[in-house]
């Protein structure tokens, strides 16, 4: 039984590798566009980091947070988000796929619909995010090997949080029809709250940031895990990621029963 489960995971891992390779090849057909998007996202993130550097030069400590913590936060959030949408780029497209009946094509394959559909697209700008996080963390924080291993593990756990939130917010399309605008707003909120220290917020907002907009699993627990090399906080981050994925998947599958397909002319790209 365990061997079979392992074989299944290995099989899906090979599929992930194949999809990433196909998506990358597809982007390489337009190298210039791909590189410019990666660089643009890198620069965009850099502007925020520069802002925080200037801020902490004037106010060295903000509710116990120092410049290193905020840089680490940005690095983890950017890489986590980047990894999520590099591998599972269709997470961003879920409302459009639902509204236009484009889930059809994914339902014809002998694979679990949700993970398979998520793999189907790579977001070029997300590659820039993923790269940015690692470059900034290594360049600014100069981690030792243990911290770096912890950082890699945390970016993967945070990627799960973002994938889960993409599924969760995208699945609203099943229930309210055209949810593209609402989903986009929710994602902006998630990204915004993920890039500010959680210590800035109190009370009800904090509760929201561990539930409705689960940015707390990005902007607090991973930082604590890295500060103290705390396996407990790292584990809680992972648990948060798995939890958000489970909630998102449940809502997706509940919504799928309402799916009514469509008849739009389409090409995959």
């Amino acid at each position: 039984m365990e061997a079979s489960l392992f074989a299944k995971f290995y099989n899906y891992f090979l599929l992930v590798v194949k999809y990433v390779s196909c998506n990358f090849k597809s982007h390489m057909e337009y190298r210039g566009a791909f590189l410019s998007q990666v660089i643009a996202m890198f620069l965009n993130n850099s502007v925020w980091v520069i802002f925080w550097v200037i801020f902490f030069n004037r106010f060295p400590v903000l509710r116990g947070w120092e410049i290193k913590d905020v840089i680490t936060l940005w690095a983890i959030a950017a890489s986590g988000f980047g990894i999520a949408d590099t591998i599972c780029g269709n997470g961003l497209e879920i409302p459009r796929l639902i509204t236009r009946g484009q889930l059809d094509i994914w339902m014809l394959y002998p694979r679990k619909l949700l993970p398979h559909m998520l793999l189907g697209r790579m977001d070029a700008t997300a590659c820039g995010d993923a790269l940015f996080g690692y470059v900034v963390y290594i360049g600014f924080v100069h981690p030792d090997i243990l911290h770096f291993i912890m950082f890699v593990a945390l970016t993967l756990a945070v990627a799960l949080v973002f994938i889960g939130f993409d599924i969760l917010s995208g699945s609203l399309g099943f229930f309210i029809g055209n949810s593209e605008a609402l989903t986009l707003e929710l994602r902006f909120a998630m990204i915004t709250f993920s890039t500010y220290p959680l210590n800035l917020f109190d009370g009800a907002v904090k509760i929201i940031l561990y539930t409705l907009i689960p940015a707390g699993f990005v902007s607090y627990l991973p930082i604590q895990a890295l500060r103290n090399l705390s396996l407990t906080d790292a584990f809680l981050t992972l648990l948060g990621g798995i939890g958000v994925i489970l909630v998102g998947s449940t809502i997706f599958h509940l919504g799928l029963k309402r799916y009514e397909s469509g008849n739009l002319l389409e090409m995959r790209n």
Binding site: L15, M107, H116, S261, E266, R268
Partner: protein, 329 residues
């Protein structure tokens, strides 16, 4: 004979909400209504009907994309909407309006990905791929990105991709849409050959009478979600429309025909083309009357074009259900 498809009173109702922001009303649209049919292994059927008849909805239920509102369906012994993953290994699907090929990649790359998706063993995959490349004539454009292929080349690659995992039945939803005459004929020949030589069951929808004549042996006409005709293609043409086309060449200019039950389609100095309503007058009697019009050089009796037969069937269906809606889902 073993049935690969069995439908028993299949129904699909869509709920449609309309109205203003404050006052919404809901109405039901019956897309498929009590469809029952069996398709034996190796048969090629054309499943046709006007826009909004329920063809695509039926295909989507047979492939597990949509759940029916009621009724039973079995495809290769599996319930499509409950066992979609298992069924996907055994069926191939081509949507003429939706591609499974990657637009920016060559077809060869999509084939590699499909081999991974379907868990094909390397040797089996390579053998199958090479055979499909040869049979579908793909070698000259296998390495060219799909966006640079002609529509005909793309559709050949599309159908080949759907056969890569050796399905037992293939659903083709308007596969020749937008193709030119030659590409259309090439694709029809390939599908027919695959059906006849490999025993592949073919379930085809199309608005093109040529597809139906060249690919299918059996035709099922659906209108307003109901089956209105289920017959052999040859029988449909012979029986369903009681008319014949009579083309006559004369040695001398003929007399003007005055025969009840005929209409003149075309007339020149030495030729006449007549449409005969065999409900009013038997064809033998018309031939006898025509022979009296002048010395006949040649005479041919033809069935009416299939398009006309189909249009006639659709028109009859519309008379039966005048409150049809145009919803095609």
């Amino acid at each position: 004979m073993h049935n690969v498809v069995h439908l028993d009173n299949l129904n699909k109702v869509f709920k449609l909400k309309t109205g203003s922001f404050f006052k919404r009303s809901e109405r039901e649209i019956q897309a498929v209504s009590n469809i029952s049919l069996d398709i034996p292994k190796g048969q090629s059927i054309a499943f046709i009907g006007p826009n909004g008849a329920g063809k695509s909805t039926t295909i989507k239920m047979l492939t597990g994309i949509l759940h029916p509102s009621s009724g039973q369906a079995s495809v290769l012994g599996l319930t499509p909407w409950k066992q979609r993953d298992k069924l996907a290994y055994k069926i191939g699907v081509v949507f003429g309006q939706r591609s499974q090929l990657w637009y920016h990649l060559p077809p060869g790359d999509t084939f590699e990905l499909l081999a991974q998706i379907y868990n094909l063993k390397k040797n089996d995959y390579q053998k199958r791929r090479d055979m499909l490349i040869e049979r579908f004539g793909l070698s000259s454009f296998l390495d060219i990105p799909v966006r640079r292929l002609s529509l005909g080349q793309r559709m050949r690659a599309e159908v080949a991709a759907s056969l890569l995992h050796a399905p037992e039945i293939v659903f083709l939803d308007e596969p020749t849409i937008g193709l030119d005459v030659i590409a259309r004929q090439e694709l029809r020949d390939l599908i027919r050959q695959w059906n006849q030589e490999e025993g592949l069951t073919v379930f085809l929808t199309s608005h093109d009478a040529g597809d139906i004549e060249n690919v299918a042996r059996r035709v099922i006409v659906i209108n307003h979600g109901q089956i209105v005709l289920d017959d052999k293609v040859s029988q449909m043409r012979r029986q369903y429309l009681a008319s014949k086309v009579l083309a006559v060449k004369f040695h001398e200019p003929p007399l003007s025909p005055a025969i009840s039950g005929i209409s003149i389609l075309k007339s020149s100095q030495y030729t006449l083309k007549l449409e005969v309503d065999t409900n009013i007058i038997p064809i033998e009697q018309v031939v006898n009357e025509v022979l009296k019009l002048g010395p006949v050089a040649d005479i041919t009796i033809e069935n009416p074009p299939l398009e006309k037969v189909i249009a006639h069937i659709y028109a009859q269906g519309n008379k039966l259900a005048p409150d049809r809606n145009d919803n095609e889902t």
